[in-house]
């Protein structure tokens, strides 16, 4: 519980500074500090268990099927990092209170800050790797918000975007790596993964998994060649840099190195990848730091260099090196955070960060100068300060490795060179800023000491540098020991934290570095000249250019697929379908199967030929739309005859009645549309479309023939056997519709009703011009409704309704049913509209079609629900035989009630669709048909 609270408190605390903002800046900062303080107290209350070497795991189920649980873990390493995050975080909150100006929205700053803090705590305290990754991404997002805090500044926005792109991309690689590890180990639990190091290393997927994880680590920890985002991120307010870029965000990468050390280290892959990357980063960072004129730029490159050092130590793959790495993480966090804060104070008081202008600050702010000098000496690795201890361990470890064979000496030599440069930039930081003459043209003059409380965080951290440097055994030893034990999964090697190890090679290297650093600094004039002569590679420009090219390529590709042309989409879709079908049908060696074909007969052959010819005529006359429509109706009629020919009377009846309403619909629509289709496709396009269409046609023909000539196994016998006994009807098709698959039918009539209401909505308020002339310029006839049709329609209506009742009633046992009866009724009613006009029919319309449609759905659904009353599943039907005088034995089934619902929906929906198109062109006085 305490564990979950440590993470949850900062998240919950986000709202406190936002609410307290109106009560002043101190109240806001105080509110922001409450939650981390509570979390810190909780964390410290766990210290006894942690120092005893216990691993606390708290687990709350979340998505166990995905291997994702809210599993948290507190051990030495997590404790150390949580301590750094909360401790330095609290100091930074105090510092930020005085750093931020009155114009900056402080509540938002602390809100983002606490969001970041909570995510960072989540990263270091997760037991489940997927959960850790979630927090990892959350740190990328919240650091984006923090770096871009001054969102009115273009450089802040650019820096934030770059940091997010690089770390977010790394996060994706890490996700892939973790999924691979989970695949290898079979679990995402850290305890299991750490214990399965041998299994992971022996697996064939180890190299890709390692590389992907390292990509995540290197991007987050700003390792070469991904280091360039860190200097750009210096556009953030200095408290953010002090927190994110010294103690937390960039340390998340090396934290992961430490966390997965037992699982992934101890292989050649690990050694070469990690140590060489670390070495390159160490050197490049140290050299580049010397040439920065921006105070924070120097610190940023120095951070890169120190992160490289830590990475190199982990890469050296010995247990003592891991001890040194963890120790340096602590030391770097303390001295670098204090240095960033000091740089922020100087920036705050002088208004600039340019070291060529800031000189001689010793005179103006001696207190701050002393603190900054101690911290930078720790950074340089001067004895009696904490930086010296871990750097000494580092030099010793570089001498211990022998993996590079006869070139083993390169690593210690290069490490010493990097050490010398790090001394040089530290000296520059001290000499250039605090001495070296008088300040030049400062925006704020004269500078003075900052507010008292702004220095307290710096003092605390510098004090830590001193105490750890002089009395390591009494201060940091136990914390280090327990963190190392957790890193190495229990194996703690022999190591010594004492200040004095006698005169040995590492000590000599330290002195060479110190002397060399001072020497390099004294030659700075020539070095700066040399540096200016170098070709200027602006990583920002390179990065932005790469991003622009990527975006352009993406735009080109999507424009290729998504150019707003329906024809293009359809063509692409059809071609892909064609390719898939061809691919699937290729293995079908003999096209014809073993089943004997039915014999040809002349009538059917003629019908089929007519069907094909009518289809072709539809296409050939497609520019003359009315002719094309007439051909289409021929096709529809022949399809209905085909159904009748092959034992499907229900389908034939349905097709016939649907055909009537479809053609009426299309003619109505055609009235408003241009009567002819213009010629606009090029010959090439027509040819291409014809090829695609022909391909589709050939595939359908082949598929049909291949299936029809093969043996057939179906579940038909079930329906045929159970139709009478189970459904109480002999027309199996109808019984399937209203009984066996009644639920499907319910869904289908719902779709029908929805389509009708959609059409009603689309036509609502639509007014189209009433055409007066046809294509040839002839006037449309002004005659209203022809007499013969008028008389016939009125006489036909009762007969047609009678037929539909007949069809409906016999539907359960003979061809017919709700669908067909509904369509026949609809056709009869539509005929009244056609023959007598919309207003005439509307005046005599007894019921709203919406209501008919709704009532139908309601009846069908209630019939289904009714069966629940009798403890049967939804839509179970019941039937029985009744003796009625005069008529005789009659069978009644609840399915008939359901069919009534279907009937009503079909009638209502069809009329809602058709009758409303009629009024589109009419005067406003003609109301919509409801």
């Amino acid at each position: 519980m305490a564990l979950a609270l440590i993470i949850a408190l900062p998240f919950a605390g986000i709202f406190i500074p936002l609410l307290l903002e109106r009560f002043g800046r101190s109240a806001c900062a105080f509110g922001a500090g409450l939650a981390p303080l509570g979390a810190l107290v909780l964390l410290l209350s766990q210290r006894e268990a942690v120092f005893a070497g216990e691993v606390t795991v708290a687990r709350y189920g979340w998505l166990p099927d995905l291997g994702l649980d809210l599993a948290l873990r507190l051990d030495g390493l997590g404790f150390l990092f949580a301590l750094l995050i909360l401790g330095i975080g609290l100091l930074v909150i105090l510092y930020a209170r005085y750093y931020l100006s009155k114009k900056d929205p402080m509540g938002r700053f602390f809100g983002f800050f606490l969001l970041f803090m909570g995510s960072m705590l989540g990263v270091v305290l997760s037991e489940n790797l997927l959960l850790m990754l979630m927090f990892w991404e959350l740190t990328s997002l919240s650091s984006f918000l923090l770096i871009g805090y001054w969102n009115h500044r273009a450089d802040a926005r650019r820096g934030a975007r770059m940091a997010l792109t690089i770390t977010g991309g790394g996060g994706l690689a890490l996700l892939a790596g973790i999924l691979l590890i989970g695949h290898i180990v079979g679990s995402f639990e850290l305890s299991t993964v750490i214990a399965s190091g041998d299994q992971i290393r022996a697996h064939a997927l180890y190299p890709p998994a390692l590389i992907l994880v390292l990509l995540g680590v290197f991007t987050k920890s700003a390792q070469f060649p991904f280091h360039f985002w860190l200097p750009q991120a210096m556009a953030a307010p200095t408290p953010v840099s002090a927190f994110l870029h010294s103690a937390t965000m960039v340390k998340a990468g090396v934290f992961l190195l430490a966390r997965l050390y037992p699982a992934l280290a101890d292989s050649e892959w690990w050694f070469y990848l990690v140590s060489l990357t670390g070495l390159a980063t160490l050197l490049i960072g140290a050299v580049m730091a010397l040439f920065q004129h921006d105070l924070k730029g120097l610190l940023a490159y120095s951070t890169i260099s120190h992160l490289g050092l830590i990475t190199l130590l982990f890469g050296l793959d010995s247990q003592q090196a891991a001890v040194a790495a963890v120790f340096h993480i602590i030391n770097h966090a303390t001295f670098k955070a204090s240095l960033f804060m000091a740089a922020g104070i100087i920036d705050h008081e002088t208004g600039t960060r340019d070291m060529r202008r800031i000189n001689g600050m010793w005179k103006y702010m001696p207190h701050t100068a002393t603190l900054a000098m101690v911290a930078s000496l720790a950074m340089a690795g001067v004895p009696l300060l904490n930086g010296f201890l871990s750097k000494e361990m580092f030099f010793a470890e570089t001498l211990e490795q022998h993996l590079l064979g006869s070139f083993y000496w390169t690593i210690p030599v290069l490490a010493t060179v990097a050490g010398a440069f790090s001394v040089a930039y530290s000296v520059r930081f001290i000499h250039d800023v605090f001495f070296n003459g008088e300040p030049i043209d400062l925006p704020k003059y004269p500078p003075h000491e900052p507010a008292r409380y702004m220095k307290i965080p710096v003092e605390v951290l510098v004090l830590l540098c001193l105490v750890v440097g002089m009395l390591p055994g009494y201060t940091v030893a136990s914390l280090l020991a327990t963190a190392v034990s957790a890193t190495l999964n229990g194996d703690v090697p022999e190591y010594s934290l004492s200040i004095w190890h006698g005169f040995n090679l590492p000590l000599l290297m330290s002195f060479v570095a110190l002397a060399g650093g001072v020497g390099i600094y004294s030659m700075r004039k020539w070095l700066f000249l040399w540096y200016q002569g170098l070709p200027n590679v602006d990583s920002v420009l390179v990065f932005e250019q790469a991003m622009r090219m990527l975006a352009d390529a993406a735009r080109r590709i999507s424009l290729l697929l998504d150019n707003g042309s329906l024809q293009r989409y359809l063509l692409l879709m059809l071609v892909s379908v064609l390719v898939l079908v061809v691919y699937a049908l290729t293995p079908l060696a003999p096209l014809a199967g073993p089943v004997a074909l039915t014999p040809l007969d002349t009538a059917t052959l003629g019908g089929m030929a007519l069907l094909a010819v009518a289809s072709l005529l539809t296409v050939i006359y497609h520019r003359r739309r009315l002719v094309s429509l007439m051909m289409l109706s021929v096709v529809g009629l022949l399809v209905s005859l085909t159904f009748a020919r092959y034992s499907a009377p229900d389908l034939a009846l349905t097709q016939l009645s649907v055909e009537v309403v479809s053609i009426i619909l299309l003619i109505l629509a055609l009235f408003f549309m241009p009567e002819r289709t213009p010629v606009e496709s090029s010959s090439l396009r027509v040819f291409r479309d014809f090829l695609v269409a022909g391909g589709c046609g050939v595939m359908v023909a082949l598929l049909t023939f291949a299936v029809l000539s093969r043996p057939y196994d179906s579940i038909a016998s079930f329906f045929l056997e159970n139709s009478v006994s189970g459904g109480g009807g002999t027309n199996v098709v109808n019984v399937i519709l209203v009984d066996f698959r009644g639920f499907d039918t319910l869904g289908e009539i719902s779709v029908l009703a929805i389509a009708a209401i959609g059409i009603y909505g689309l036509l609502h308020g639509l007014r189209l011009p009433h055409p007066t002339h046809d294509y040839g310029g002839r006037r449309w006839s002004g005659d209203s409704h022809p007499m013969i049709l008028y008389v016939l329609a009125r006489a036909l209506l009762p007969m047609a309704l009678l037929v539909s009742v007949f069809i409906f009633l016999r539907g359960h046992n003979l061809p017919g049913g709700g669908f067909i009866a509904g369509l026949i009724t609809a056709v009869a009613l539509i005929l009244q509209y056609v023959a007598l006009g919309v207003s005439w029919a509307q005046a005599r319309q007894p019921l709203s079609y919406h209501a008919v449609c709704g009532a139908g759905l309601l009846i069908a659904a209630c019939t289904g629900l009714g069966s629940l009353l009798f403890d049967h599943p939804f839509l179970t039907s019941a039937f029985g035989h009744f003796e009625i005088p005069l008529i005789g034995d009659i069978e009644l089934a609840t399915a008939m009630l359901f069919d009534l619902g279907v009937y009503l929906v079909v009638v209502g929906a069809t009329l809602l669709m058709l009758s409303n198109i009629g009024h589109v062109s009419q005067e406003a006085s003609c109301k919509e048909v409801l």
Binding site: T604, L632, C696, T704
Partner: protein, 109 residues
């Protein structure tokens, strides 16, 4: 007979696909209708072609598979609803955009 049906279906699909690749709404709707006829026939034929054997118990000695028929029956009705929807959508488009081009704007010369 199966081969003849297969060829006929092929012709129908070819005509339908060619029409839905046209640039104006009306031929596209006609093409969709043609394709839905062909698809309905195709699904229906998956229950095999039988003469004089409707799926009505007691009317004939053997019965054709009723399941594809039931599927096609609803497909016909839903197909009509969809055609109607597309047609009305086209009408609405004509009213709003003053063009019956499928992309909602007249092609640039």
């Amino acid at each position: 007979m199966e081969a003849v049906l297969a060829v006929t279906l092929g012709v129908m699909v070819t005509c339908g696909v060619y029409l839905i690749l046209r640039a104006r709404v009306f031929p596209v709707v006609v093409g969709l209708t043609l394709i839905s006829y062909a698809v309905n026939l195709f699904i229906f034929s998956m229950g095999r072609l039988a003469t004089g054997a409707p799926a009505v118990i007691g009317k004939s000695a053997s019965h054709v598979d009723p399941l594809p028929q039931a599927l096609v029956l609803t497909a016909i009705v839903i197909g009509f609803a969809m055609t109607a929807f597309v047609v009305v959508l086209a009408l609405r488009g004509l009213g709003e955009l003053k063009t019956d081009h499928v992309d909602g704007q007249e092609p640039r010369e």
